[in-house]
Point group: D2
Chain length 381, copies 4
């Protein structure tokens, strides 16, 4: 584990998600950019001092040489260092689990993507909202054709933690308020890529063109805190996109509605165990974890009996469990369960970074429709 010190929410969350299905053992860490704190923190969470490293690259170097070295590296450092550690890990033969965004720039993202393609190592990007069983139910229903041809998508991710004028993140996570370190558009990198990823995951479509406005609305903000966009998908579907971290008092509201010729599905993170399905004919249906009509992809992500609440950890853990399945299969030469191989990868990461770039370009061009497609080999994947 590189990044994710003992006081960070994201570090604790990754560790917990990894533990839930008991397919990981934490053996080495570089938890902080400060070598002293990094080593102390590793020991504090129970690691052997010899593997509580002071630096992430040191961890990669030493573990790569150990006979019993780590198999997979999980990266949850500030956004601007994702590339450094992901590329470094792939170069040294580690499978990688990386927090999103994959990188701050497209060049970095493509570099990671190329390295993961060439090495055939596993690269798992923790777009954790794709791990909820009802999100997977939606995806599986689309895959089965239950919604028909997809025509309309609205996705929004609204938070309020950046709404207060006197509450920059400066204290705890200063890199978030630094445009260099947090990426070209913090709100897009932070939650916009989640919204974009969720729409792609459920629909199986790509955003072909985007017209957007990206900006900052809260006083004295140094980084973007809202983005509105209109979307054109590669099959002709149309969409609407709205993300902000400046909606005062809103805690964490991610929701999506996808309509096809045969029906509409609606999902909201606030009540993640309900997928609303509105068929063209017949009454509205509520789909629930392990309830009637659950498809295999959703059942696989649902650990518990019908309609016991599944929360944030369960969804996050599913991503970890899927990656474990892929990693174990790669290492053993066995065939992985195909249902496990639908987690976000470097390809998704690259597409997400290109979407962020395209949205910014469009915004700077006065909302002009801008292609979000990737050029070159990545675009031909």
């Amino acid at each position: 584990m590189i990044g994710g010190g003992p006081d960070s929410f994201i570090g604790s969350m990754h560790r917990t998600a990894a533990r839930i299905d008991d397919r990981y053992e934490l053996v080495a860490s570089a938890l902080s950019s400060d070598p002293e704190r990094s080593r102390a923190a590793g020991v504090a969470i129970g690691l052997d001092a010899s593997r509580a490293y002071g630096d992430g690259i040191e961890l990669l170097d030493v573990e790569a040489r150990r006979a019993d070295g780590a198999d997979v590296v999980a990266i949850m450092t500030p956004n601007d260092t994702h590339h450094r550690y992901s590329a470094g890990a792939l170069e040294r033969g580690f499978d990688v689990i990386s927090d999103k965004p994959i990188a701050n720039t497209l060049d970095e993202a493509l570099d990671i993507w190329r390295k993961s393609e060439e090495s055939r190592l596993v690269f798992c990007l923790t777009h954790n909202y794709t791990g909820y069983s009802m999100v997977r139910q939606a995806r599986a229903m689309v895959q089965q054709g239950q919604l028909g041809e997809i025509r309309l998508v609205h996705v929004e991710y609204v938070q309020g933690h950046e709404a207060a004028e006197d509450d920059p993140d400066g204290g705890e996570l200063p890199w978030r308020d630094d445009p260099e370190r947090g990426g070209p558009s913090l709100v897009l990198g932070d939650i916009g890529t989640h919204a974009h990823s969720l729409a792609r995951f459920i629909t199986g479509l790509e955003v072909k063109e985007v017209a957007a406005e990206v900006g900052r609305i809260a006083p004295n903000r140094l980084v973007d805190d809202y983005a509105a966009a209109m979307l054109r998908f590669n099959n002709g579907a149309r969409g609407s996109f709205w993300v902000t971290q400046a909606a005062t008092g809103v805690q964490n509201d991610l929701r999506i509605r996808v309509s096809g010729t045969l029906g509409t599905v609606e999902w909201a993170h606030e009540l993640p165990t309900r997928l609303i399905f509105r068929p063209l004919d017949g009454p509205v249906q509520l789909r629930t974890p392990n309830g009637p009509g659950t498809l295999p992809l959703a059942a696989r992500a649902s650990r518990i009996v019908a309609d016991h609440p599944e929360g944030f950890y369960a969804g996050f853990a599913t991503i970890y469990a899927d990656a474990a399945e892929a990693i174990a299969a790669r290492r053993s030469g066995a065939k992985a369960d195909p249902l496990a191989l639908q987690f976000p990868t470097a390809t998704d990461g690259v597409v997400g970074v290109r979407f962020v770039e395209a949205a910014i370009e469009s915004s700077e061009a006065g909302g002009a429709w801008t292609s979000a497609r990737l050029a070159g080999e990545a675009g031909r994947r």
Copy 2:
């Protein structure tokens, strides 16, 4: 009453809304464009045959000459004839209650606006969603400064009745599928103006610029069935706008979220008796009709004791009741209750038509930011 035959939903709804608070008596009608059917329908709903007219202009002419002629004319004809009857009624000295949109073109809308301004007659546009008590609570909270400076608005109005490929409206309301008669963009005239009006009503702001895409997504549609837009308000606030009638299986989902520096309010038509208020500090609150914290503007729109469901009729009736108050005051020379004078007027109608035009212009210009402001005297109101 001009338009709104016995089989039309909208006619029955207007009549019911007018009855609820018992401030109207229906005395004359021209219910259909077919003179024979029009006269028969008037008699059928109980009018004296001499006042069951065959034609709307005939109604206006004759009633204007009667000593006991109608005071106010309610218009609910196809969109392309709104101007004809509204202008005709104002010219003859009638107060007017008109279904939305005020007219299909800006010139027509401005003509109505000018006539209502000059005559000082009452012109009430039935943007009925502004009549719900909790929508009025939201407006009153904004007016009182409880939300602080408004910064972010998301409004969406999603329906599915145009989703089926083989279900043009042709049968019942053929004018809806005729671009000439239904207006330049049916989805915008039909429900887009409601969404736009709701955002303006609650925030008290104007849309200054819009970047939009307007189009048709359902196969074989002759008229628009979706519109996405990004909004810039006159105080610098930003917004997102999403309307469609092609979302398969969705019935009638209008919702809005407005965030200011001090809090956010959320309202959804599905459960119209709940206004969610998320203050900057302190727990989320649910405001309910006549519940604690109800402000006078909301209390006035709430006829019943705390938290008995108020539905579509109640909201619609509020618009009628407010107009009645204004009309009675005008006629008697008394001062109307200021709380009653917040119903939508010709000004709102003109602004709405300009918004539709601007959205279409932006869409045709590839999503370019387009001014939604009115030129000339209307813009200086």
Copy 3:
């Protein structure tokens, strides 16, 4: 109209409900027990002074003799006078619409029932919650066998307006705090009969035996403010019943769940346009007004297009409209629409009063199971 002065919620509600479907005209009133106020109030709401009576019995006497006298009398006086006016009206040949409970004692209730049976006049008891379209959908689904044999019922009606220690109703409606006038158990007469009526209306079953505790929990209450009960229905089904007016801060929460061998339905007054249907097999469904699967009994109670909110007025108006249909049919000799003849009648009133009595008897007998059946001819109906 007898009772329901201009300041009373219930009076205004009855008048509005009667207006909505335009099948009633208010021609005479005795709005208050004080003759002066009664006459003034009648004039104030627009009646001719000659028919703005000072007393209810005077109204009945005079109107019965007029050639153009009232057809139907609506009664919304304090509970202890319901019998006086209902019996008086039936004796003089008026159809009657009465607020619930039908009477305070079983003897009075039976007297009204007998008079309505013998006269074959219409007697409609405004258990208005049975007028919601989704409640009628539930009833129709049970009638069609979609739920199979009914086995389990839970109904609760929870309010909080009697929770505050220093807030007796004394001021506005002093009779409510007078055990003589408000009836043997105010909470049961007030809302318990609604809950009981709702369970009977949906299931078509009768409560055969009840074991109950009825009492007062708020300090200084003179009348009952809570009742818990266990129910045994006549087909062997079992139930649970919970009503209170002392649940601090709760506004008006009526909800019911009915389970049969083939499925469960759930309805809550808070969101009255949703009926949740949980079939034995298959996903949970949401039934909505005029949505897919709407049965004729529900469609008849739904005035508007799919999924526009229907509120308290619409439900109440349905009861009035049904009574109008029955009254018009009786007077014209025509056959009434059978779907209109499912409104609560004197029989329902008598059964309700007996249920209240039985619950009190059980409570006084330490919760012993007590028969709720009616003796004599009423029991053989």
Copy 4:
């Protein structure tokens, strides 16, 4: 771990809950009553063959003698063997985490209670619903007096998995359909004790008397599938109680409403991250995990940032984490965090068994009010 084989939901859930906060290591198991399968299952989940025992008592005997033997034993065997293993574990000096109910009979329950009292070992009963952060918020609000004196409680736990006539549990968990093994009233032992425990946990009150009906309503059931009850609490508060496993199509619906003189709280397991608070004065509030107003007891149970969904695992894990804190403190002699010492114990288990007994006694006595108090030393605790 005794019980909880690899295919059992409850076993997997306990293991996951124990892992989440990383305070347990699974070192020994007796996972099945069949010795061969038990040993194989232990090896299959990764234990050393020498500690994958064939029998629970063998596990206790051997582990008690090992220098590195287990510290705490988790028991999730069929209900009729809980006492055997809990008593055995306490006798041998193990701390115990036991699935509910603590035992099938009061004598057994009291024996466990006495052993835990005398040994001062930790005994934690996994009434896991008390682990949700918003349930703890409710308890803490009551403890702080925010609800005033508690007056009214309604709790219900409704499931449908026993509704189908042809679906006895016989296959997977045959002991559940055996009255001897499943306990005197399966529905009460299974979910009734959860409902009872939840009411006690939030209110801090005890049920003094109960009047109940307990029975079986689904055809061919051998064990109880519903129970209705009326409750009298030790401070005079009144309550209503409704549990069933025969509500067709209902998945898992546990909900509670508690009213005091100053306010009401409502919680439903379906959306466990919302606690509705209705104060005597002021608008309804929604309390959310780590949202404004979160009290320390709730914050301690909430692992994640504001309003990310917390599910079943998180709540269950809180019970495990609290027990870990107590066990670690006991063993180290340190003082445990008092906020961790509010998990259910043997006392709660004994009270629960007595409640089940009293409900059955009342039901058999025709619903007579029956004391639920404990006699002897347990009653004086």
